[in-house]
């Protein structure tokens, strides 16, 4: 008995196949979900993958957030359904107010695609339990609107409650993946809600699950094994 993990496809979603593959490689059963379908097909967790849903028109994630499938996801996430938003999925989660803050265009105004080093700050969320707190990992990052922003009070709250789940590592050679790639406040790469079931992350763990492709690393697999272990042991 394994877990069923859904991956949503919005119009303009790009990394849905990659996320489905990552779910499969982690040992879970991947389930494709469609934006117009409110039914989550009995999945145990949901991944909102990266891409440019609705072309990032209006604001990244702003139109997808109102799709039928999101109605159910928002309702069930509040009741504890594990949800991981990657890149565009993170943007959808902030637009849906499941996570605080917002995503703005990179401070350097360019799209950036690179290998990125992160520190796992919170290893107790549904999607990070397979890591250790303080662990440093390396996964690809690629975004145009990746600058995480929130007001100071919200940022302080996130810090105080340990809800900054992943942080960009800045002390090191940029050629080795160090540095804040988009101007995110407090080097925030990913955050979690208070319950730890909803996590948003700017870099792309689904691109780092096989030694053969991408940057050749497999640090991304931990996100998917984390949720699988949690679901199977539950």
């Amino acid at each position: 008995m394994t877990a069923r993990i859904g991956v949503v496809t919005f119009p303009g979603t790009l990394d849905d196949r990659d996320a489905l593959r990552a779910v499969r490689l982690a040992g879970a059963e991947p389930v494709a979900l469609w934006h117009r379908d409110k039914d989550l097909h009995q999945v145990d967790a949901v991944v909102l993958p990266g891409g440019f849903s609705y072309g990032d028109y209006l604001r990244a994630g702003a139109i997808s957030r109102f799709s039928p499938v999101m109605e159910t996801i928002i309702e069930q996430a509040k009741a504890g359904l594990p949800v991981l938003g990657i890149c565009n999925g993170f943007q959808v989660l902030t637009e849906a107010h499941l996570l605080p803050g917002a995503m703005l265009q990179n401070d350097h105004l360019h799209f950036v695609c690179r290998e990125q080093r992160l520190r796992v700050e919170n290893a107790s969320t549904a999607w990070s339990a397979d890591f250790e707190a303080g662990q440093e990992i390396s996964i690809p990052l690629k975004n145009m609107d990746g600058r995480y922003t929130a007001d100071e009070r919200t940022l302080d709250e996130l810090e105080a409650e340990g809800r900054v789940a992943f942080r960009y590592l800045t002390e090191g050679d940029p050629a080795d993946g160090y540095g804040n790639p988009n101007g995110s406040l407090r080097n925030i790469a990913g955050i979690t809600n208070a319950a730890g079931n909803v996590v948003g992350l700017m870099p792309h763990p689904e691109h780092a699950v096989e030694p053969l492709v991408g940057t050749g690393g497999t640090d991304g697999l931990g996100f998917f094994t984390s949720i699988l272990k949690k679901l199977v042991s539950a």
């Binding site: 072309g55 799209f111 690629k142």
Partner: protein, 749 residues
Amino acid sequence: MTLDTVKHAGETPDTELPWAELGLKQDEYARIREILGRRPTGAELAMYSVMWSEHCSYKSSKVHLKQFGEKAPANDAMLVGIGENAGVVDVGQGYAVTFKVESHNHPSYIEPYQGAATGVGGIVRDILAMGARPVAVVDPLRFGAADHPDTKRVLPGVVAGIGGYGNCLGLPNIGGEVVFDACYQGNPLVNAGCIGVMKHEDIHLAKASGPGNKVILYGARTGGDGIGGVSVLASETFDDSKPTKRPAVQVGDPFQEKLLIECTLEIFAEKLVAGIQDLGGAGLSCATSELASAGTGGMRVELDTVPLRDATLSPEEILMSESQERMCAIVEPRHVERFLEICEKWDVIATVIGEVTDGERLEIFWHGEQIVDVPPGTVAHEGPTYHRPYERPSWQDALQADDAGALPRPAGGDELKDQVLRLVSSPNQASKAWITDQYDRFVQGNTVLAQPEDSGMIRIDEDTDLGVAIATDGNGRYAKLDPYTGAQLALAEAYRNVAASGARPLAVSDCLNFGSPEDPAVMWQFAEATRGLADGCLALGTPVTGGNVSLYNQTGETAIHPTPVVAVLGVIDDVNRRTPIAFAEQGQLLYLLGDTREEFGGSAWSEVVHGHLGGLPPKVDLDRERLLGEILISASRDGMVDAAHDLSDGGLVQAVVESCLRGGNGARLVVPDGLDAFTFLFSESAGRAVVAVPRSEELRFTDMCGARGLPAVRIGVVDGEEIDVQGEFTLGLAELRAAHEATIPGLLA
């Protein structure tokens, strides 16, 4: 407004039409009248003028392009050859791959972002129209001098446009080039390539057969994009009240294109189309005339059913519009309902605009009145053919006599070291990461190799790890010195790059960028380059499957360097066996493969150190290229090499610096017997590569080279954190990295 119907044209034979403004010659207009037996209507004239243009008809180039067919090597892998949207090659295991490179040069100079973006969009639709899922893009780019102010306008816009469009489609950008040369000032070359993958049975061809089948236009609404010229018809001849200028710039909507891709692939999967064509240059004129003439000939289109973005468009403008993100499909009546359902699922507008008829005429109606009645083949394929005069330019001899070998060479280790630093930090040899980091190379999760590797490599089957590789190369400096050899050097380099990655080269696509064909000197360059490329492809056994010609790349009397850009596609049975360029482990032994001669004509060294272009380009030996390729592929398959990097512009030292920086390791080099340090480091002799051999494989590797007659000389070892050329100089990796990586951001960021 009077509608210029077929009937009206018959009744008013003497009405003057603005054929000259539309770019037609007197004899071409006379030919159209002869074909039709009357004067053309405005709509017909619009169609002929655009389809008979240089861009669509290849009228200046086709007498030379014929060689690619005539000299094509026998090759079992070719499934679809030249003439379709793109060629298709068998890569085994039931898979076929289609690929093509096209230019979008002039639009990218006018409006860099949209010009480059729509260039990507167009080539992706070409690939899609063959029935393939697009899996990767590559972008060979050429700009004016790196420090010219206009380069700072054009380059960032082009790069942002390629990224903005390609990233939004979810296609990894895995290769290409960025070259700077003052000759491209005012004429940047923005070439875009795409690879698509399909099963053999899914190949789709652009033809409309089966009377009664429906013609469905789907995708974006039609607006006034890219029809500047044809507006003449509407404004001057038929209706003076209309705006006289339509925008010449086409604007792309990558989100619409992404939906079009997914929608089309779902339609393919359910086998709902009998024929399909993308709408690119010449829009509906091209799609309807080509589909009809490739089928049984007859088609009837109700033009007023075309969904419009701008209700004021005239029928001529609708026929000409180059609005992006549109496709045209031929669908059996029983499949129409399902076809429209899938379009609805993806929020794609689809409209039945006509049907295939059992006649032989393309007939187009506007609110019930006929405005076009033509034999479609005369529009699509019977455009004029020019045998333009060509002549070796008078300056060619003097240029070749200006031997780069006579230039002052560095004296001693310090000067060598200084020139190495200047070379690797020069705009053409510097790291292009600032540019390529703006492209998504990871999406789809199948990217095995991407820039700055020798080739881009994509896994196409997750179960068997079958993969394909692509490399694009061109060197306008070599081609200027000798266009025949220059074209072969571009081919040889791309071939070598693919082989160095471990893939077997299979087929070629090209993008031929030249000046004005009306200049006999340019026409000679074109004739020589095409002859060289055709001869080269025959010798290497890699047929040209398709491509693109871009002429008139010149400002006033000054043409760009002749710039044939060649893409070579290869196949690798198991991508786990790929060979990267990185010197990843200390202790690996470095071998130089091939012969190094004193060849500096057109070299990066002569440009960077002396600002010189003269002499002869390096010699080409295609048998040697083939042998080198076989060795590299065997070594990759059998695990005899850990890294390989082809040697081309910048010579050995450029390759070693790139491989060291990529792997984060230094190297100790020894100048081999019979060579001086300068020639060893900077010569650009073709047919060479540097490989890193694990010690355990050294004997097996050198035995293989010896047995097959390929010169292989040990030149050093991967070691330390610096590059040391024994007895000459030492350069730390940190210093090299800083020099190599700071240049492009310094110029452009």
